[in-house]
Symmetry: C2
DNA sequence: CAGGTCATGTAAGTCGTTACATGATTCA
DNA sequence: TGAATCATGTAACGACTTACATGACCTG
């Protein structure tokens, strides 16, 4: 349910129409998010009613009219609020949106949220590793059904390892960048 | 939309009620799949109507009656069919279900599907790495918005790397296991 | 005796996908 | 001329979540 916020981030980077947003979601933002144009049109309408975006109707010769969307003051405030809000149920996708949008709010708050999520993923990883030790002490001897169960567990371990490493990398980079700024180096 | 097949795998491992299935999805299968009990009840009803599962009403003293579900011949056939069917749009979760259920069908077909997905993830990884080289040749110098964009790209690269490695590991393990069987060692 | 577990279900709402519709322009 | 791109939208359906309802048993 953070499509609204993904759109706020994208529109903060550059204003655009619903159609343009749909194209962006196919490309750069689509690395971690996908949304159809119908979905985007409906959410944009909702966001307009909520006052998060302003619409500017652009008439074009030949091509159909365009609705250019721009983030309003209220929309920016909502983005800042959401970026700083802790969400223990956030998916990796949502966290990626927060990272991408960090400069439109408080990067330190985003870094703090990442620390919390890194810790909870590290806990999960620990649980998985304990299951691995307890239930599969001799992986080389496995075959058939228990081998397949083990391989899925290995996948879970790999995913959690990756998350923990990535969150750590991002946290460090965000802090290094913040230090840079306080030291006066742009 | 492969909840049906995840349930078929789980019921193939052991018959059970909707309630029990919901608990399993919270635990072992929940490593890579989550489903609420309401969802499971509705899907089970659909599966019963399709003839994929048979129901046995078990009366219990004290506790409410149980509906024990068992995979039918038609359900097993459907699972075998699905396991062997190539699906270029399959998510990692769905592939994990196929791995976990491989022994109920043809493990070689599952291994072939994994090869295809490993290749497509390797291609994606290549694209991401090219973007990295082209747009972020000097990561250490990045700051602010472009740093944040780079960090998200790094996340995408990590995810794809992890997938490629995992699929490779699983493929090799499945093949080693198949060789074992053909050589007569159980 | 309050709270958790076993066990199933209805109802309402949100979210997302798929199909369809329009209509001009550009390119092969 | 047929397909693709630009640009928006309606309608219907399917998937999934959240809240509510029931009722007995067991544990602290």
């Amino acid at each position: 349910m953070a499509l609204e916020h993904a759109i706020l981030v994208s529109l903060s980077e550059r204003s655009g129409s619903g159609y343009e947003l749909a194209r962006r979601f196919e490309r750069s933002i689509g690395l971690f998010w996908n949304a159809t144009h119908q979905q985007i049109y409906r959410v944009l309408k909702r966001m307009e009613e909520a006052g998060w975006v302003a619409v500017d109707l652009v008439e074009q010769s030949g091509r159909p009219d365009k609705k250019m969307y721009t983030v309003s003051t209220a929309g920016h405030a909502e983005l800042v609020r959401w970026l700083a809000e802790p969400d223990p149920a956030a998916t990796t996708q949502e966290l990626a949106v927060k990272i991408r949008g960090a400069s439109f709010g408080d990067p330190a708050a985003v870094a703090a949220e990442l620390t919390r999520h890194r810790d909870s993923h590290a806990e999960r990883l620990d649980v998985y590793r304990q299951i691995e030790k307890r239930d599969f002490p001799d992986p080389a001897a496995l075959h058939g059904r228990s081998l397949h169960q083990y391989l899925v567990l290995r996948g879970g371990i790999r995913v959690e390892e990756g998350q923990v490493e990535w969150f750590t990398e991002v946290r460090q980079a965000l802090r290094r960048d913040a230090d840079h700024h306080t030291k006066g180096t742009p």
